[in-house]
Subunit: 129 residues, 2 copies
């Protein structure tokens, strides 16, 4: 797959997340996907997203930076959203927050097989005061 | 610059950091470098590294993942080190910690001009208990 093709594939995955069209998640994510070293599988990955949608009603994934070198994609995602209740182990109480996630994905056979994500918890903590 | 050339340039930058050869930092980092949206400049960037070396005597930068698509490099850096005193606003007291940094760099004229870094503070907090 060319870098441009891989980038397009990744953008389609993000569009799927923003549409909350989780029936199609298996088109983009492998059955045995690993997240930060944990073998969560497609089922666990979907459950993680469902929880995100529940905790963050206005969740939107915005690609700020995208680097593709097959089989790897690196993306900086920008969030501007209002988590309810507990988020990253912090009490957010509906406050609107701006923060980033820098995340790497390894694709296999056109699907995300491994994810290494770091969310900017320090930025969230600073905004919560 | 080709992706392979940009990746080699980045590896040389990391070798410079690991050698603590800060006299050569200006070969890799632009005078007007921005770090996480702040115009720190080469002087501020060097001061940041000098502070890191002081707080973390066994600091070593290990490239776990590297994606290069000119002009951008994305890198996942793995750290296994023992910060003294305060690190990321946390009291670490010399405990050996393993954590990652997912970081993007924009190169201009062969030098790092903009950096967007997220360090896994949540992992550090979890290890400090």
């Amino acid at each position: 797959m060319l870098p441009t093709e891989l980038a397009a594939r990744y953008r389609a995955y993000i569009a799927c997340l923003n549409a909350q069209h989780l029936q199609a998640l298996g088109d983009f994510v492998a059955d045995d996907v690993e997240y930060n070293g944990q073998p969560v599988g497609l089922h666990g990955y979907r459950a993680m997203l469902e929880n995100d949608y529940r905790v963050i009603p206005d969740l939107a994934f915005n690609i700020a930076l995208l680097v593709a070198e097959p089989p790897t994609v690196a993306s900086r995602l920008a969030f501007h959203c209002s988590p309810n209740g507990e988020f990253l182990g912090l009490r957010t109480q509906g406050k609107t927050l701006s923060f980033s996630e820098n995340v790497f994905y390894e694709f296999q056979h056109g699907k995300i097989a491994r994810v290494w994500s770091v969310i900017d918890k320090a930025a969230v903590q600073a905004q919560l005061g």
